[in-house]
Amino acid sequence: MLATKRLTKTFGGLAAVSNLDLELQQGELVGLIGPNGAGKTTVFNLLTGVYTPTEGDIILEGKSVVGLKPYQITARGMARTFQNIRLFNSLSVIENVKVACHWHSRYSLAGALLRLKSCVNGERQMQENALELLEMFNLAEKKDEPANSLPYGEQRRLEIVRALAAKPKLLLLDEPAAGMNPLETKDLMELIKKIRRLFGLTILLIEHDMSLVMGICERIYVLDYGKVIAQGTPEEIKNNKRVIEAYLGEEA
């Protein structure tokens, strides 16, 4: 599904990520963990095309996506959420979702300007798709509210809905549980399991909350100073010496 080969990104001589080799199989749920500043989000930014790698390759479904723009990578079937929520605040909840429908159900510009039938139909289609998704995630009632008026937890959920609306095959979640209480985190775990099942997704997630990572991930990569220091099942990671060092070292 997804593989990176010797992926490297340097900022002014400082390597944020170096020689990273990741591999995700179809349908896997993989966690990416590591102490603060380990380069996790940089990995996401490289994968989604926000940054261009200094070296190395990213292969999505057998084809390299290096050098593509983020929107092109999205069209290849990758979508993401953000660590710091990035919703379109002046748009309503449902419009946020519709923005993500853009790449696959777009209609012509002329249709839009003159409000031709293609536009009306296209809009109806998007509305239906979006509403369906919102209903699935219990957000349908709030569809016309401004996105930034939602409570924090719902904003996070909306971000996931929005990413799903882009019809991804691979979903990247950047700290989905950040700022949530244990109860909300538990709900989130159920939600992630559910979407994976329903949409047949491959998921890569960054998370600090160990209960979540250990609870749902099948495989985990541990990153420190931009390098993979360990990988394996949750059990293996829990007992890995270098991982414990890295985390304790950070705390000390």
Partner: protein, 311 residues
């Protein structure tokens, strides 16, 4: 929904006929007619700039440059090449559109104030080139342009502008532009080609600015490079911000209010601009988000006000 559209349609036709009759019978004095035309041209300029600045969030200060392109191209076609008015207007608009793409592609990579100064620069370049082209009269400009802009053309193109841009922002394309304004990075990772949409909004805005310029040229007889200085771009920007960034009805109301203010202040002689400037500062200080904010004024508002009044 259907009923509302029919109602709006009837209101618009009624407005057209009413003004048409009022001009014909002399009910609207010639002086008010001049301001009526200015109002229409200002509405087109403000609404089209709002698409760029308000909806897409790209601070552009070269709108007058596109008006100049529309004005010059259409004037050359009607005056020097003897073409009819409608193709001349459209040719002017298309030229502005193309130049919008040419200018937009490199500059829209810039953000914020850097974009502002680059677009301002392009406006000045267009003006500087016009001064040096003797075919269009250099600094003296083109004089004796036939007065072809009448109420029907003005009304038609104002409606065309307003409704095209309204349709655009309410479509998936427009939503893409708003998404870029709200959060460019998120928009791009949600599958939106940000460069394409920025350039698209910019050049559609330029297209309608070209129409405004063409209508202007064929009402005021004379166009000169100096007419389209950066002060004219500022005028349009004032209307957009005053009306509310991202509110089409706001831009329309503001364009009308600014034209009205300008006409009302005419009697103050040399104090005219001082009062105008003061009003500008006061309005902005007390209403920084503009008249309408990002909201639209709809028929519902009218009814709500009425209900509120009766209770």
């Amino acid at each position: 929904m259907k009923h509302k559209n029919i109602l709006i349609g009837i209101l618009l036709i009624a407005l057209y006929l009413a003004v048409y009759a009022a001009i014909g019978t002399g009910l609207i004095a010639p002086y008010y007619q001049v301001n009526l035309y200015l109002m229409g041209i200002n509405i087109i300029a403000a609404v089209s700039l709002n698409l760029i600045v308000g909806f897409t969030g790209q601070l552009a200060l070269g709108h007058a440059g596109f008006m100049a392109v529309g004005a010059y191209v259409s004037a050359v076609l009607t005056l020097k090449l003897g073409q009819p008015f409608l193709p001349a207007i459209l040719a002017g608009a298309v030229c502005a559109f193309v130049i919008g793409i040419i200018i937009g592609l490199p500059t829209l990579r810039l953000t914020g104030d850097y974009l502002a100064i680059a677009t301002l620069g392009f406006g000045e370049i267009i003006r500087g080139l016009l001064v040096n082209i003797d075919y269009v009269g250099g600094a003296a400009g083109i004089n004796g342009i036939p007065k072809l802009t009448n109420w029907t053309w003005l009304y038609l193109f104002t409606l065309l502008t307003v409704f095209s841009i309204k349709n655009f922002v309410n479509s998936t394309h427009g939503r893409a532009c708003i998404a870029i304004r709200d959060n460019e990075l998120a928009a791009e990772t949600m599958g939106i080609n940000t460069t394409y949409y920025k350039v698209l909004a910019f050049s559609i805005g330029a297209f309608f600015a070209g129409i405004a310029g063409a209508l202007y040229a064929h009402y005021f007889f004379l166009i000169q490079p100096a007419t389209f200085s950066f002060m004219k771009s500022f005028d349009a920007l004032v209307m957009v911000v005053f009306g509310g960034l991202g509110s089409i009805t706001g831009s329309i109301i503001a364009a009308m209010a600014v034209t009205f203010m300008n006409a009302a202040l005419i009697n103050f002689g040399s104090l005219r601009m001082i009062i105008y400037a003061l009003l500008l500062v006061i309005i902005m200080v007390f209403r920084p988000q503009g008249l309408m904010g990002t909201k639209e004024f709809t028929l519902k508002h009218l009814f709500r006000v009425k209900e509120g009044g009766s209770s």
